[in-house]
């Protein structure tokens, strides 16, 4: 079935075309059902492809499907081709699976929106782009998907574009991503000129064979990392992601938490042989950027009051963990965390969407509280998501984060300490959120009038079509750890390292590389330490926000994200603006001024010359005569004609 892999993008493409043509007629909710069915179709094909690949011997788990020759220009021969291998099919499985659930949720969430069918049009286009991104056999096909998801992200962030903030946020996301794409493009150029092809097999093959020079590999790795930094919202380009929350909540869950923003992690994993042969400082750089982002975003999340903003910064922070994993050589752990994160973060976002829906479009957590009594299913599933992200065993997030921490310690104890501290912060801010929303005191009653309900306002639980995805995702968030359990002594062998076995040999750098470190020897202890930290964060938050034993510290500087975003905005509005205006003024005054100046000069000169046009024949004759004499003189004296 791996040869039918083209069906995975074909389904959402069909959905896109059908909704484009008949969306208005299908309307609410049929367009949503159609779109969901298409994504389900892709998921089914992905499952089929998975079983096909699993049944094959390890060496044959790759199948290239070439649709057509895409760019045949002299030396550049690029095919529109898909690569079905464990990494891409694994990505497809979770992308289409979670996308399907989010599509279902959106049918309920977007119900009644006048642009209902347009929403699903974009959503299908997004899924199409995303699977093209992960299935791409070469960098250019991936780039097509990469830009495609960026466009869909733009369209969906600005979905409610009559709101100024939404319109601006979309543009900001796209332009910031383009900065990253600049790196991606240059990486492709470098790769192409080094190996004469943009296909992954050629590039990785050259890296493995040792024909890729270290400097070239370094350049490619760093430039691709620049692309990843843009797409996956890492420092210094992270600032578009919190603003992206202007989009409808299912979009935040699908694009800005579960799938698109992890594309950078996927890309670096895809080219891991290149990173392996690049200079040593490259992985270290990646690890530090990831770690710094993780810490930075976690501190900002501590002081956010918008329910979605907390989750947005949390996403930035968790993505930082994934890059930390990549920088530490733990590609499997990065993918593992990507998958568990996709489940629990999608769950949390959809849960927040359910809350926003139930609260009549209220997003301020200070106006919530005690919602568990009114929204039991949402609260229950959200709590599972919370435990998963906080790193409480046996929920999924614990296993993936633990593995990252293990590799981090093997790389550098300093990094480990910072990462562990970030894990405490994560548990703390997520507990804060859960308490503010679902526990504590009901603060929404005093704001009821704002919602126009005049005392009658009551939060309500969402419809079944929204709750079903929550329940499924909660189940996944609880048990997904099973796909990659560590080799602790009491663990049965069959359960160990499932993901690593599956991804082998695409990702060479498994645990074998660190088996001789002290970190590895004490991994049981590390797991206990990580659990203790998670619990410490939770207990601390309970003391602050539930019991009110400790006064909450939420400095303004954190709420404002260390003023980073504001600085950039004022730079673009100040010196940036001045630069464009200066260029335009230069163009009008100097460049065009020279042209008009020449015009004036010629006219003035013409005015002078005109005075010679006296109209007297004898004057002209004299000039003609003089000319003849001069020419004759030139011919005779100069050229020796006579």
């Amino acid at each position: 079935m791996a040869d039918l892999v083209w069906l995975i993008p074909a389904f959402p493409l069909l959905g896109f075309v059908l909704i484009l043509l008949f969306g208005r007629r299908l309307g609410d909710p049929k367009a949503g059902y159609l779109a969901s069915a298409m994504v389900l179709g892709s998921f089914v094909v992905a499952v089929g492809a998975y079983f096909d690949l699993v049944g094959r011997p390890e060496g044959e788990r790759a199948e290239i499907t070439t649709l057509f020759s895409w760019v045949p220009v002299s030396a550049l021969q690029v095919d529109m081709a898909f690569l079905a291998d464990p990494l891409s099919i694994g990505m497809c499985l979770f992308v289409t699976g979670i996308a399907f659930l989010i599509h279902l949720f959106a049918i309920g969430y977007m119900h009644g929106d006048p642009k209902f069918s347009k929403f699903f049009l974009y959503l299908n286009l997004f899924v199409l782009s995303m699977v093209v991104l992960v299935l791409g056999e070469n960098l250019l096909v991936t780039f097509l998907g990469w830009e495609g998801v960026g466009t869909c992200s733009y369209l969906l962030i600005s979905f409610w574009h009559d709101r100024e903030s939404a319109a601006t946020a979309g543009k900001k996301a796209f332009v910031t991503n383009r900065v990253g794409d600049w790196g991606f493009m240059l990486a492709m150029f470098l790769g192409f000129s080094a190996v004469g092809s943009v296909s992954y097999s050629a590039l990785n093959g050259a890296a493995v064979a040792g024909t890729l020079a270290e400097t070239t590999a370094t350049g490619i790795a760093v430039l691709l990392f620049v692309g990843a930094v843009g797409k996956s919202a890492q420092l210094p380009l992270y600032f578009w992601l919190p603003d992206a929350m202007e989009g409808p909540t299912p979009v935040s869950a699908l694009i800005h938490a579960a799938t698109m923003v992890t594309a950078g992690v996927f890309l670096l994993t895809r080219v891991n042989p290149v990173i392996a042969v690049s200079a040593d400082w490259v992985p270290t750089l990646i690890a530090w950027v990831g770690l710094a982002t993780a810490l930075f975003a976690a501190t900002v999340a501590l002081a956010q009051n918008d329910i979605k903003k907390v989750l947005a910064y949390s996403t930035v922070s968790q993505l930082g963990f994934m890059f930390l994993a990549i920088g530490s050589g733990a590609y499997v752990a990065a993918i593992f965390h990507m998958i568990t994160h996709a489940a629990f973060k999608a769950l949390l976002f959809l849960g927040s969407g359910s809350v926003i829906h139930g609260m009549h479009d209220e997003q301020d957590m200070r106006k919530m509280g005690r919602l568990r009594a009114f929204m039991p299913v949402t609260a229950g599933t959200f709590i599972i998501g919370w435990l998963a992200i906080a790193g409480v065993p046996p929920f999924s997030g614990f296993w993936s984060k633990d593995e990252i921490l293990l590799f981090t310690l093997a790389k550098s104890p300093v990094m480990y300490v910072i990462a562990l501290f970030t894990a405490i912060l994560t548990a703390f801010y997520m507990t804060r959120q859960v308490i503010m929303v679902f526990f504590g005191e009901a603060t929404w009653e005093s704001h009821a009038e704002e919602h126009g309900a005049h005392g009658e306002f009551k939060p309500h639980e969402s419809s079944p079509i929204m709750l079903f995805p929550l329940v499924v995702l909660a189940a996944l968030a609880a048990v997904l750890g099973i796909i990659q359990l560590p080799s602790l002594s009491w663990m049965p062998d069959v359960l160990r390292y499932r993901l690593e076995d599956w991804l082998h040999p695409l990702v060479e750098f498994g645990e074998a590389n660190i088996t001789d470190t002290t970190a590895y020897a004490n991994k049981g202890l590390l797991a206990i330490l990580a659990t203790a930290c998670a619990l410490a964060g939770i207990v601390l938050a309970v003391l602050v926000y539930q019991r009110k034993k400790i006064k909450a510290v939420e400095p303004q500087i954190l709420a404002d994200g260390w003023y980073y975003d504001r600085t950039i905005t004022s730079f673009m509005g100040g010196p940036g603006r001045a630069a464009f205006d200066a260029t335009a003024a230069f163009d009008a005054k100097v460049v065009d001024g020279a042209v008009n100046g020449t015009g004036t000069l010629v006219r003035a000169a013409g005015g002078q010359v005109r005075k010679g046009q006296t109209g007297f024949i004898r004057g002209y004759a004299a000039i003609v005569g003089l000319g003849v004499v001069l020419m004759l003189a030139w011919f005779v004296l100069g050229r020796g004609v006579l």
């Binding site: 057509f68 020759s69 895409w70 760019v71 045949p72 220009v73 002299s74 030396a75 550049l76 250019l140 780039f143 097509l144 830009e147 495609g148 466009t151 733009y154 600005s158 574009h161 009559d162 100024e164 319109a167 601006t168 979309g170 543009k171 796209f174 332009v175 383009r178 900065v179 794409d181 600049w182 493009m185 240059l186 492709m188 150029f189 470098l190 192409f192 000129s193 630069a579 464009f580 205006d581 260029t583 335009a584 003024a585 163009d587 460049v591 065009d592 020279a594 042209v595 015009g599």
Partner: protein, 536 residues
């Protein structure tokens, strides 16, 4: 250069058929507007039909050869021949000119510029078509020059008569600036002719003989051609006529100007300057590349400061043509292929953007960005078309614009014939930044015009059907006579004129090799020939 002479009547018919239309139109009374428009469209349609037939007769397997070749004596005394032919480089441009003229004429059906007089307008467009098509088939320098100049006058009148408020200044500037370039170009042509001592002005002879000219002389002759073509492209710093011409030109003029006229300059480089003067081209290539990249960044920065939609699109042309020129300056197969693709893609995309700008102007009577807002609310389809074109223009993969940018930047990594790699790689990095800026100015434009709520000034106007009920309340507040006029979304005429371009933008974006396959053999031949003279 090998030639094929089968069906060689096709090009002459295709090029001069519009003149038949002109002859007929002259005898139709001015008042018969419907008849005039119909005849104009029929003529352009027939011309396009001949063009399409030509395409089917074209042997794509031998796209590097000049096909439909004719070579007869024309003006014996100056040894200029009527030499015409078509190869893979010129075929797409030749067809593009026919398609654009046809679509523009359809658009004019109910979008006649305010000055009226469709008779003169259609005659000018037909004349323009002769000049454009002729430029792309000419294989003789004098013939080329005549067609090249023939284009100038109709466009001058189009801007000068049917243009906006500053039309006289803009049209005169356009005319004089281009004439200035042409004068230098003509001198360069003559110098080339005399220096080679060639038998005729035929391209083939001059390409044979040009390489033999002393390097320093080549550099001087190239300089003349460079200025002539660079003004037309236009390259920084010769671009300032363009924003004025575009802003003042009627929509039809802007579309033709952007889609075809600018390409005459880039085509001149590919067809004449570079193959005839290889050493000159090599010496000038770094200069061209530097100016091209300055144009990319400079044009984009200027875009960010514009307040007028049409002016912004005009400056974006400076940036986009910068990519085209960078591709040509690399002197590689790859770069020239991409540059040619970029020329065609820019024709569709920027042509469409000007169409949309015209439609906005028609509906709102202004193109000032700050007065426009909420197109997606008031005229959603128009808003969507603008969005698609903006995305195509910023080089989104999957749409045509990408293939004129991405491979160009890539080609700068390894420029041909020993051109300085450090220089071109630096330029590559900077040019790639241009794509970031392109996203910034186009999305800024889109946000300002299409997103948001309609501005107060136009908020009362609703899309047709509901319009009449709301409008009268506001009619007293404003003296704008157009205020209570209802807003229409994209009309049938507009759909007919635009759909082919929109389809082309998507189809060639997804499947670019349709076009690359046509160019590639001819470009390969061109670069191989360069190689013979540069690395003997």
């Amino acid at each position: 250069m090998q030639t094929i002479t089968t069906d060689n009547w096709l090009l002459t018919v295709g090029t001069f058929l519009p003149l038949v239309g002109v002859l007929v139109l002259i005898f139709i009374p001015k008042g018969e507007e419907q008849l005039i428009k119909t005849l104009g469209i029929v003529t352009a349609g027939a011309t396009l039909a001949v063009g399409i037939f030509t395409m089917f007769r074209f042997d794509f397997g031998q796209a590097e050869k000049l096909q439909f070749f004719v070579d007869v004596t024309w003006i014996e005394v100056i040894r200029s021949n009527y030499t015409i032919g078509l190869d893979g480089i010129s075929l797409p441009l030749y067809l593009l000119s026919m398609v654009i003229t046809f679509l523009v004429m359809i658009y004019t059906w109910d979008n006649m510029p305010d000055a009226g007089n469709p008779k003169a307008f259609y005659i000018l467009m037909l004349l323009l078509q002769v000049g454009m098509a002729g430029t792309f088939i000419a294989q003789d320098l004098i013939l080329f020059f005549v067609f090249f100049e023939l284009v100038l006058l109709p466009m001058y009148f189009m801007i000068g008569v049917w243009g906006g408020e500053d039309r006289r200044y803009a049209s005169l500037k356009f005319f004089l600036y281009t004439m200035f370039g042409s004068a230098l170009m003509l001198v360069a042509f003559l110098a080339l002719f005399f220096q080679t001592g060639a038998e005729s002005f035929g391209f083939a002879q001059l390409i044979e003989a040009g390489a033999g000219i002393d390097r320093n002389v080549q550099i001087w002759i190239f300089a003349g051609m460079f200025i002539g073509f660079a003004v037309k492209v236009p390259m920084f710093p010769f671009h300032t006529w363009l924003p004025d011409a575009h802003t003042q030109a009627p929509t039809q003029g802007s579309v033709i100007l952007a889609a075809i006229l600018l390409k005459l300059g880039t085509y001149g480089f590919v067809r004449i300057a570079i193959p005839m003067l290889p050493e000159g081209a090599k010496a000038w290539a770094p200069v061209i590349a530097i100016l091209a990249v300055i144009g990319i960044i400079y044009g984009a920065l200027c875009c960010l400061a514009q307040t007028d939609m049409k002016r912004l699109i005009a400056f974006s042309s400076v940036a986009h043509m910068g990519f085209v020129m960078l591709g040509i300056a690399t002197l590689t197969e790859f770069g020239i292929n991409a540059a040619l693709f970029g020329m065609i893609a820019h024709g569709w995309i920027t042509g469409m953007l000007f169409f949309v700008a015209g439609a906005v102007k028609h509906r709102y009577h202004t193109l000032e960005i700050k007065r426009l807002s909420g197109l997606l609310t008031q005229v959603p389809r128009l808003g969507w078309i603008l969005g698609l074109c903006a995305m195509a223009s910023l080089g989104l993969p999957g749409l045509a614009g990408f293939w004129g940018e991405f491979p160009v930047i890539l080609s700068a990594y390894n420029p041909g014939f020993g051109l300085s790699e450090p220089l071109f790689r630096t330029l590559m990095v900077i040019a790639a930044l241009g794509t970031v800026l392109a996203a910034a100015y186009l999305l800024w434009l889109y946000q300002r015009t299409a997103f948001g709520e309609p501005t107060e000034e136009f908020a009362g106007r609703t899309t047709h059907a509901v319009g009449a009920a709301v409008a009268p309340d506001h009619a007293d507040d404003h003296h704008d006579a157009h205020h209570d006029e209802e807003l229409r979304d994209v009309t049938v005429t507009e759909w007919i004129a635009w759909t082919p371009l929109l389809i082309a933008i998507v189809v060639f974006g997804v499947y670019p090799q349709l076009m690359f396959r046509v160019f590639d053999p001819a470009v390969t031949e061109l670069v191989a020939r360069l190689g013979e003279s540069l690395n003997p």
